[in-house]
Amino acid sequence: MSDSVASISPRGMTWARRKRALARVWRELRNDRSGFSGLLILLGFGLVALCAPLIADRSLLLAAAGRNNPDLAGPSAKFLLGTDDIGRDILAQLVWGSRVSLFIGIFATVVAVLIGSLVGLVAGYVKGKVATVLLAIDNFFLVVPFLPLAIVLAVILGRSPVTLALVIGFTSWAGSARLVRAQVLSLSERGYVERARALGANSRHVILRHILPGVAPLIIANATLIVPGAILTESTLSFLGFGDRLSPSWGKLLDGAQSSGSITLNAWWYYLPPGLCIITVVLAFTLFGRALERIFDPRLAGR
């Protein structure tokens, strides 16, 4: 018995601890009905996005693809979700649109969380003038009207999916910076961090080994909650005509439906599916994110 204990290295111990923690998270998630169903829905959409080329050929997205098709035709055996105003299959656009919408949602979130965590960590750990300046910038981004700023940036920087994701990420990091800073402030005062310092650990070691692991779960939960906002922003920008008009995102489908008058013409198959997809994915991310939050921060459990 004592042999086996001795044979486990410190690194192995850490891994074993992490494995146990992960197993606990998984167990709690399984028991959290809403969070787990959110996860399942997300996996479903992720699968569709990954398998898009298998479901619908990319050439169906070309403007000329509707050449011999009826325009604004209702659902039929040939077109399960009907056709748009220039005769293209809506299902194909919906499937490929999931790629654009999910990509922009996730990539924008990565950008926002990276900026937010960095600013939050520095502002929380390094006090003094640097923190004051960072907090001022953070406050600026918190109060500045978000949509006009995103529109201005989108117009200046161009409208490819990558630049749109950067724009959305760049305008939505302020909240997570606040959150991370608060957690860092609280962690820095904890006994184990002080003990590490007393034992001679430098700032780098303290941040990477003690503080970052402490805020990581919070960052992950927060990120899951930023994604739906980013997807909604992309849809809003596309709907307002500031998106990438050549990529088939859900917001662009809604824009096309609106500008072609499909609401007046009762062509529900044009605007309902993308709308429902946006709502479902946003809801799923929110459910999943809230569940993660509850698991990582047990204080929220009773709420």
Partner: protein
């Protein structure tokens, strides 16, 4: 007791509501005969030396007179301020006899002096809405009713003189420096209507000009209401809030044509407006940084052959337009390029590829994009965020890709794209033109003189193209007084433009307008049979419109209102009577 009081109160409220409904309907029935138009554009400026939007011209057509007018049918000359005119033998001098009974809306007399003043000042100050017509003219008023106009060169446009005449007694008080800031908000009118109220971004309201000397319109009050989207505006006419709309979404217009709305008539009118893809041809005297490939006329021809214009007319316009390979020189289709379909561009990607091969653009590195001497055939493609032309972008980029031309699409608002054009810093871009009645103005846009050479000034030659043969023909037609010879020269210019020019013209598109046919009749098109009713060269359609008196359609909505009011009143009476009865029953006890 309290309950009864409550019921009486309810009955009173309902009764008042019914009264309010009935009075509001009676006001609109007895008030001025109003014609409300929905538009998706807001007035840019009422100042005739500044504004340039279609809605501005519509207001000027209704509030500013001109010396002569144009027939709705074929744009031939008609009297307006001038009753008659005679030309000298050399055709350089024209003497106009003006009406003697004209007054501005503020009561000041309107005379030959106003016309002479407008022509002289427009040349001196360079008013850009006037100089294309007045640039070579001098005018003197020999008396209040006689105007002598002299041209420095033979001018085929004369004796038509259709520039907006401004009131001298207002304009002479404004210096050339102040003029660009003048808001024209004194609302002095010399046309059939005068502005009485304007809310920026919302509406402009006009009433009949009491001193108007022409045909009296049936419309007593004319309102232009601005809407955010074409669909919102269509729903307003459907609900009966508007009498007419300009710009109906194509799919909805198709459903109108199918007779889905019995009370609304759709009119697809063509007055030569067209969409095009401009290709930066890098004229040596110009500026800019156009792609080297586009200097070669064969590459420009290849792009013309690669486009499926029929498909775009079918899908983007839903058939409300016609494929075109050259500009519309005039709103009058007689000046269009007359060429047999098999003698000009059609959808032929194989031919486009052959032309590109011939020009030396081949895909040597196998990336799907043609190249030559290490330069990729990848073109910057700029389009507008608004307007029908942007709907063609996905089509055009697809056609170009099919023949091995890559594009990098960027979308701009109108102002930014205009600034880029003034610098000629683009490869391809899409826009549209609407021509005047006389072809001279449109043809002048493609002369070497119109090539932008200074970004702060710009120039209308947005293909950055020059051709000496075209320039020579332009100068010749400008002074050719024989209409047959002039028309022939214009056809030669079309041929050069289509074969060598900087445009891939896509199509001529219709203006899609809708009217309440249950309230109005006598829709007169301009030009005859093919044109629209509103937003035309002279906007005389409003003078021809007649209300349908006691029409069945209008009566229909009134009947509904009457039935509604009757129901509300009956409900109120019923409530009152019931509460009375109950009260008396209580009393009996």
């Amino acid at each position: 007791m309290n309950k009864n009081l409550f019921k009486i109160l309810v009955a009173l409220v309902v009764g008042f509501a019914a009264l309010a409904v009935s009075t509001s309907t009676s006001v609109s029935a007895e008030g001025e005969l109003t014609f409300t138009v929905g538009v998706t554009q807001d007035i840019d400026s009422l100042n005739v030396t500044v504004g340039f939007l279609v809605i501005d011209y519509e207001i000027w057509n209704l509030t500013l007179p001109s010396l002569t007018s144009k027939a709705a049918s074929d744009f031939s000359i008609l009297p307006y301020m001038a009753e008659s005119w005679t030309g000298s033998e050399d055709g350089l001098t024209w003497t106009y006899k003006l009406r003697s009974d004209m007054k501005w809306s503020d009561g000041e007399p309107m005379t030959a002096d106003d016309v002479a003043y407008t022509i002289t000042r427009s040349v001196a100050d360079g008013w850009w809405n006037h100089t294309p017509v007045t640039g070579n003219l001098t005018a003197t008023a020999t008396d209040a009713e006689t105007l002598v106009v002299t041209s420095s060169v033979p001018d085929p446009k004369l004796p038509i003189l259709d520039v907006y005449i401004v009131p001298k007694h207002i304009y002479e008080k404004i210096s050339a420096e102040e003029l660009p800031n003048y808001l024209a908000d004194d609302n002095v009118s010399g046309g059939p209507f005068q502005i009485v109220e304007r809310k920026e971004g919302e509406f402009v309201r006009l009433v009949q000009n009491p001193n108007w000397f022409g045909k009296e319109p049936a419309i007593e009050q004319l309102i232009f209401r601005t809407f955010e989207t074409a669909e919102a505006q269509y729903n307003a006419i459907k609900a009966g809030d508007l009498d007419a709309v300009d710009d109906v979404p194509v799919k909805i217009f198709t459903s109108l044509e199918a007779g889905d709305e019995p009370n609304i008539i759709g009119i697809a009118g063509n007055q030569g407006s067209f969409s095009y893809l401009a290709m930066n041809s890098s004229c040596p005297t110009g500026i800019g940084d156009g792609h080297v490939a586009l200097k070669d006329p064969n590459v420009r021809r290849a792009i013309n052959w690669s486009l499926d214009r029929e498909l775009m007319v079918d899908k983007v316009l839903n058939g409300f337009g016609k494929p075109a390979v050259s500009i519309s020189a005039s709103a009058n289709p007689a000046f269009d390029y007359q060429v047999a379909a098999d003698q000009t561009y059609s959808y032929d990607p194989a031919r486009a590829k052959a032309l590109l091969d011939e020009a030396g653009w081949k895909d040597t590195n196998g990336d799907g994009v043609r190249d030559k001497d290490g330069v990729e055939l990848k073109l910057r493609y700029f389009d507008r965020s608004i307007g029908g032309a942007s709907d063609t972008t996905p089509f055009i980029t697809g056609f170009l890709k099919d023949v091995g031309i890559a594009t990098d699409v960027k979308t701009f608002d109108e102002d930014s794209l205009g600034a880029i054009q003034a610098k000629s810093e683009f490869d391809l871009y899409t826009w549209g033109w609407s021509p005047y009645a006389d072809p001279d103005n449109m043809l002048s846009n493609f002369t070497t003189a119109a090539v932008p050479t200074d970004p702060t000034v710009g120039g209308y030659n947005d293909g950055n193209w020059c051709n000496a043969e075209y320039d020579a023909l332009y100068a010749k037609q400008k002074v050719e007084l024989d209409p047959v010879k002039r028309a022939d020269m214009i056809q030669q210019m079309h041929k050069i433009f289509a074969n060598d020019g900087p445009y891939a013209v896509l199509y001529k598109y219709d203006n899609l307008q809708a009217f309440r046919s249950d309230r109005w009749q006598n829709f007169v098109r301009q030009p005859a049979e093919v044109g629209p009713i509103m937003f035309t060269q002279t906007s005389t359609g409003y003078l021809d419109l007649e209300p349908i008196s006691g029409g069945s359609g209008g009566g229909g909505t009134n009947t509904i209102v009457v039935i509604g009011v009757a129901l509300v009143v009956a409900g109120a009476v019923f409530t009152l009577v019931r509460s009375r009865r109950k009260k008396s029953a209580d009393d009996r006890q």
